[in-house]
Symmetry: C2
Subunit: 493 residues, 2 copies
């Protein structure tokens, strides 16, 4: 506990892995590439789900559930889609095991499927094959559906939360009568994601569009939110796709419009995943452990008694029960750790490591003076507070911490965005400073690809909003050809 | 809509299928054996999940997530477990597709897994292999974990919700220091399930133990709740297993007890699934459509305006907005359907078919007299109510409907439980009356198996509680050998 692991400066990657595993968020499973999400980590994910789910419902979406398996032939119907996912598909070929003559358990060769099933890496194909039965007329549109599910994309090199063979996510799949409505939905959901990232995760994001190279397989346009981690790398935290009529054409989904004419339906899809857990850890945590934004922390407050002997503890217990009730009444999530098997110092370190936003310590002298010691995890500041009106003080403090985390992350990002005009400068910044680099690009996949090969930096997005200076035309740092605006380059997760 | 489909008396099975599909609960997918859960159906499932999840948390459980895939070797470690599930396993053998020379998409033979992966049919094996890393001492116990997940059990003959290749469920997996604690947990969760079935679903259940024949593969004891459907058949609505030390031994999970000695850990597992959706439909619905208990209905109240012309509609809209707000404030889920594209009669039939517990109709004359017409779905009774205090009246009515549905189902079950003392009577009741049959059984798998072969009736459970008369010893209806108590026989889903 404490400092017995790599600091961010020493080894960022090791620091991250240690934190995720030792703070009980997740661990590698015995199944290659798959993770186990542990109760403490899952509790954060549940809070993310609840907040997002409410935002989806508030924007008119309903949840549904579609099959885990996709017939290979469905998967192949949209050409660029299958090309994009073919190399990472888990394939079910048989449906039975049997006992071999030597007593071992083997796959029964007689139970071979006539058509292989793909474990969904994403559900556009199975969903659009279903929508064919649901959509006949403009009256059936828009169809606004979301699914919470597990998906599988086979990965050889995995990292907990950031890249795993199986992960949890939500995928929205909507159908519209016009291209305009579909584009509007695409950006609406991008805004929902940005809102969630900034106001719940306290992670500032840049909204933008992907280049053609980086688009979702099957999309006409991919929008994304990009966040900066503490090592200066970018993490794509959510994507929203305008799919045009590609999937409607692949699955022959037509509708009668108001004029009585048949047309193909317009589509969007959008998703965020347990990857957000990785972003949360990497955006705020420090060398002493996790730092969780109050809105997503399993416990927002931990109360620890400082005592000698059970008689003192009992007195403290009685007082804490009052405090606990008043905090719960305020909607605050509180844990009281009065286990007699661990010392206060051990508990302090434990909850610091687990990122609990506020710690309240209370001892016999506090009982006398009507005070408690309150420590905040983000700045590590401590103060002695009167118990009077403590619930309001703590509620206010939690808001303050949430706010502070966002501002700190925003300030870090601003300090780590560079503007460069030459390729030499570009490479220098990437090597020496890292962070996001705003630079001109000629708009061709060729320049983009060469820059990626030579520097590993990719175009994270073409920002939707940017400062006046960045919107001005210029020349591409690589080719010297004309460029309309600067784009965001970065190394990324 | 209305009566243009089979009644329960005409064809119970067709009635069920029609209801599930046309009331937008679920449909068969293009993937053999897998279903699509539609938004209306999923919304009911979400409410089931929320209620159960809270009950699990209130009894000290936390959620976590374990991998979808289970290595074949893990699966084989507990002998009876693999025997129980081997015949219905989806097996992943490859992890990549590729484009064949003819342009078609094929499984890449070079991407064959060195060890096949089973798509989880249940997670005991992967979870206990994980628990080995989590449990060292009695201080780590009990470990009380639940998982919400999809599972796959290959089925050739499927029925929506009742038997599908993929279904959604929750599976609790707990670890304990003693057999007594594990048994206590097993029955505690059985009680939670019974509480949920009776108080949320309004479905009365009989709690009992399964015979050895019907036990979960790997369990020492399986407890279940059994519900009676309107055709008299039994539906197993939830199971809770005492697993002894079987999985701890298979995965070598030992702990140091308080005396400092090493011992294997004691286990339970328990689950309910989307099967509950089938039970819900079959327990309450009638020949006019779904009948939903208010606690699980997506909308508890639908309000329908009766009007001529938009001017009248606008006046009604204004009044309904007041009503709607007061109901929402009371925590009631309300839908106001003022679409001008459908007539009131169509809407009445639609919401009756969808099982909305309460319908409020409001027209111009109601505005004048300060009244509304309120119709309840369960009894189809209508009454005109003064708008004054309407929120409380509706809240009370919803409680009344919830209560009435349970009582009606309980009374139906009581009328359809028979007590027989001879095999001839037994067969007669099964053929002529159906329902549950309380009869003596000698406790041997042989008699149980023969009765099943000859009548298709199985022992649903050995009830935990029963009337004095049933607890008395008697003689087995099949063998004439001594029997300690009557057990519940029935045809089942």
């Amino acid at each position: 506990m404490g400092k017995q692991f790599a600091t961010r400066a020493e080894n960022y990657s090791e620091w991250y892995n240690h934190l995720v595993e030792k703070a009980d968020l997740a661990e590698h499973s015995a199944v290659k590439g798959c993770m186990v999400i542990k109760p403490y980590g899952y509790s954060i994910w549940e809070k993310m789900q609840q907040a997002l789910d409410q935002m989806f419902k508030d924007t008119g979406h309903e949840n549904a559930y579609f099959p885990l398996f996709i017939p290979k032939s469905f998967f192949s119907k949209e050409a660029s889609h299958v090309q994009g996912f073919a190399k990472e598909c888990a394939v079910v070929t048989h449906y039975r095991l049997k006992t071999a003559p030597d007593g071992s358990i083997v796959v029964d060769p007689e139970a071979k499927l006539s058509e292989e099933l793909i474990v969904r890496p994403t559900s556009e194909t199975i969903i659009w094959s279903t929508y064919k039965g649901w959509i006949q007329s403009y009256r059936d549109l828009p169809l606004l559906i979301n699914q919470w599910a597990n998906v599988v994309r086979w990965e050889m090199r995995t990292r907990l939360f950031l890249r795993t063979a199986e992960f949890l996510w939500q995928e929205g799949h909507t159908a519209h009568a016009t291209a305009e409505e579909a584009v509007e939905e695409t950006t609406r959901m991008l805004d929902v994601y940005a809102d969630f990232a900034e106001n719940w995760m306290a992670v500032p994001v840049i909204k933008g569009r992907k280049t053609a190279n980086e688009r979702f397989a099957g999309a006409l346009d991919t929008y994304c939110i990009e966040a900066m981690m503490q090592d200066g790398k970018a993490l794509q935290a959510g994507t929203s796709h305008f799919l045009g009529q590609n999937f409607a054409k692949a699955f022959d989904v037509k509708f009668t419009n108001k004029e009585g004419k048949l047309d193909y339906v317009w589509a969007t899809s959008w998703g965020v995943s347990t990857r957000l857990m990785g972003a949360l850890v990497m955006a705020h945590s420090d060398d002493q452990g996790l730092v969780l934004p109050p809105k997503l922390a399993p416990y927002q407050v931990v109360i620890i008694p400082i005592y000698k002997g059970l008689e003192e503890l009992e007195k403290i217990n009685a007082k804490v029960e009052e405090i606990r009730k008043s905090l719960i009444k305020k909607g605050i999530r509180v844990k009281y750790d009065n286990r007699d098997t661990q010392r206060p110092g051990w508990k302090f370190a434990e909850y610091e490591f687990k990122g609990v936003p506020v710690r309240i310590a209370i001892g016999p002298r506090d009982l006398e003076s009507g005070t408690v010691e309150v420590a905040r995890r983000d700045t590590k500041e401590k103060e002695v507070l009167q118990m009077v009106d403590l619930d309001n003080k703590i509620a206010h403090l939690l808001e303050n911490i949430q706010d502070n985390l966002f501002k700190k992350a925003l300030s870090f990002r601003e300090q780590n965005i560079s503007r460069v005009d030459t390729y030499a400068e570009f490479k220098k910044v990437l090597t020496e400073k890292s962070g996001f680099v705003m630079a001109h690009w000629d708009g061709t996949p060729e320049s983009e690809e060469r820059i990626k090969q030579e520097t590993k930096a990719t175009i994270r997005c073409i920002p939707l909003k940017q400062e006046e200076a960045d919107k001005k035309p210029g020349v591409c740092i690589y080719s010297g050809k004309p460029s309309e605006q600067r784009v965001v380059f970065a190394l990324s997760y």
